[in-house]
């Protein structure tokens, strides 16, 4: 099992856009591309640069969403841990815990045995659930968060591919222009 050296994806599948992100069109031939756009080199370069900036803006947004999700997942796992601990306790004595009242200040709490927990649902709403229901709810939330994160990561990969394609196109248009100037200079110095 070694690294494959064949193209990474089937070349017949080209996605036009993904979740609102327009795909960067791949340029086969620079001259044909410039003719198709009907712009000169500088305008083309400006257009491509602007596209690149737009991609960067979207990337910032997606990265922020990714950071939020990546913070949410450990939180849900901690909650599951606590509920599991409360459920697992089967002795009759209360569970003693030290919790943070304010920064650096802790207080002791006795948690009596109970079959239910209260879950904070957001929007100033807290509901009481049985331990089993709470575990189910938290598991669901965790799976949803993980699924969203996967989709987000795929979006980011698609976006980065479009950024790479645009960067390569900018370099090729620029190189083509340099090449044209050199050819023109060589032919004009030959004539004189």
């Amino acid at each position: 099992m070694g690294a494959s050296s064949s193209p990474p994806q089937s070349s017949s599948e080209v996605v036009a856009e993904r979740r609102g992100i327009p795909a960067a069109s791949f340029v086969k031939d620079v001259e044909a591309y410039l003719n198709q756009l009907g712009l000169d080199v500088n305008s083309t370069l400006a257009f491509l640069q602007e596209r690149l900036q737009q991609y960067k803006v979207v990337e910032m947004k997606l990265l922020a969403q990714q950071r939020d999700l990546q913070a949410k997942i450990p939180d849900i796992e901690k909650c599951l841990d606590v509920v599991a601990t409360l459920q697992a306790k089967d002795s009759d004595e209360a569970l003693l815990t030290d919790f943070e009242v304010s920064e650096g200040i802790y207080a002791r709490a006795r948690i009596e045995n109970s079959n239910s927990v209260c879950l904070w649902l957001g929007a100033n709403v807290m509901l009481e659930y049985s331990s089993e229901e709470a575990t189910t709810l938290l598991q669901n939330n965790l799976e949803n968060a993980k699924a969203s994160l996967e989709v987000l990561v795929a979006d980011l990969q698609f976006l980065r591919d479009q950024v790479t394609i645009t960067q390569v196109t900018i370099a090729r248009v620029y190189n083509w222009d340099v090449h044209q100037r050199r050819v023109k200079q060589a032919s004009s110095s030959q004539d004189s």
């Binding site: 070694g2 193209p7 990474p8 086969k28 606590v82 990969q157 980065r160 591919d161 790479t164």
Partner: protein, 126 residues
């Protein structure tokens, strides 16, 4: 990764896909290195914690569960720390394996891309 020079080498869709794949792998590599660092630090913390545990003569230890410190018997704390260590070590192994396979794939892609574009392409870390 940037391109330089005024050469006229043709870039095919296949080449573009290789370049894209290299970019993706490079990003994933950086993320992996961060995750590996975090996992290693966690393991070190577990080591320190279990060492402290051996030294202490208290029977009840305040163990962080969620956001509160529960009073837990020393034996149970030892078991929990060991379990967490095992989970983290396995996770670390998986990350290391993924990192190795990514490095191998990137080396392959470098060979292909440098082979075609030579100086026109730069695939090194700046």
């Amino acid at each position: 990764m940037q391109q330089a020079g005024g050469s006229e080498t043709e870039v095919t869709w296949e080449d573009q896909q290789y370049i894209n794949k290299f970019g993706r792998l490079n990003n994933r590599l950086h993320e992996l290195e961060d995750e590996i660092k975090i996992a290693k630090e966690a393991n070190e913390n577990f080591e320190d914690a279990s060492n402290e545990l051996i030294l202490t003569d208290e029977e009840v230890v305040r163990f962080l569960i969620g956001e509160v410190f529960c009073h837990v018997a020393k034996d149970e704390v030892e078991m929990r720390i060991e379990k967490m260590q095992q989970t983290t070590t396995k996770h670390l192994e998986k990350l290391d394996d993924e990192k190795e396979s990514i490095l191998a794939e990137m080396a392959e892609l470098k060979k292909i891309l440098y082979g075609k574009f030579k100086d026109s392409i730069n695939l090194e870390e700046d």
